[in-house]
Symmetry: C2
Subunit: 225 residues, 2 copies
């Protein structure tokens, strides 16, 4: 998997950036269970760095909500509950709809071209069952949508949520059926944006999230409310 998905907030060439990316990935991938205490020295030794960059990475992870730091005590991994996932998908359904609506007016030529290429390529990899590529293309499609919205605030927010549910999304797309369906939905969103149809774009992006959420429910990846 790629290492540094959220560029701009962590330079991957500094020790701190590497610690941050690594811990983030490890937490999202479930290496550390909920409630586990992360010790600065232990993490530092594992990654071959001193406490300083580890501490700085901790502060960032806390603000992302991935760990909770209790002063003078320690840093503890915060899990993502099924309720959190549900909430995020509801929020995403509304905000991605807004992003698609705004993208109609703000998408650039380059973004449109990359989005078309993305959908085209995804069709190929879905047929071949290349899960890793499907995952990456899905990631990129959504990031493109966020960037195309023309709103730094909305983009930042949606990228956050997108990363947050990374673990569960990976499982979801592994199902071939959802992969195909998801790609068709991407294509429909792209068409609506191309046709300058604000309402369709918003509605389709909204439904796309709801469908992704329902798929998780159907496959038992999360429990219903």
């Amino acid at each position: 998997m790629e290492e540094d998905v959220k560029e701009g907030t962590s330079d991957k060439y500094s020790l701190r950036g590497r610690v941050f990316s690594r811990l983030r990935e490890d937490i999202l991938n479930g290496k550390y269970d909920e409630g586990v205490e992360l010790r600065e020295i232990a993490i530092g030794e594992e990654l071959g760095v001193s406490r300083t960059p580890v501490r700085e990475a901790f502060r960032q992870l806390e603000l992302e909500g991935l760990i909770k730091i209790i002063p003078n005590k320690g840093a503890y991994v915060v899990g993502i509950s099924d309720k959190d996932v549900r909430d995020i998908y509801i929020l995403r359904s509304r905000l991605e709809g807004l992003a698609a609506r705004w993208a109609v007016d703000n998408i650039t030529e380059e973004q449109m071209e990359e989005m078309e290429e993305n959908v085209y390529l995804a069709k190929f990899h879905t047929e071949k069952g290349h899960n890793e590529q499907i995952f990456e293309l899905d990631n990129r499609f959504h990031e493109l949508l966020y960037e195309a919205s023309g709103s730094k605030i909305l983009e930042h927010q949606l990228k956050d949520y997108h990363q947050y549910v990374l673990r569960i999304r990976k499982k979801t797309l592994a199902s071939a059926k959802r992969g195909t369906q998801s790609n068709l939905e991407h294509e429909a969103i792209l068409e609506a944006i191309k046709n300058k149809n604000h309402d369709d774009a918003e509605r389709l992006a909204h439904e796309h999230m709801i469908n992704a959420y329902k798929n998780m429910l159907d496959n038992g990846l999360i429990k219903p409310e």
Copy 2:
């Protein structure tokens, strides 16, 4: 004004927490203009601490989007543009609507009582023209709404935005007319929640944000698109 509005992410009794809160407040209050370079040593000397807590605070501020750190170069203040404010109000209009809808089912007895007291008290202070109290009560009303939504994710998000536009909100409420109107809108939202009317609650909270936004436009606090 209160100092540490965002509890849970910064303990105000550590040096780092104090640096974080202080810089956050200074940036939001406009002490540092957009693009200003913040030097670790200078900030440290100003607050009487070493570089270590300053650096940690910087990392957090970057993640909040208040400063931008360029590796090996420096930390630069990121301003809040009129467009950012506009975007946030659009997002808030949608998310506060959602919060109000969810609050119908999740608000506790205590929260409901505090909300009623809040609206009642605000009426008094509005008549008297007590701007500081009006501001605090408005703050609290919205935080209560977020907490009552029963979603940590949504609550966290809305509190962030709420803080982010702190500076401009203070100016807005200072106008007596808006203060009165705002309080009437709070009362209407409260009634809808009490009557278990999901649609009304969402619609009214949505409109409340749109009205606040329009008021800022009318008073020339931000430029239109």
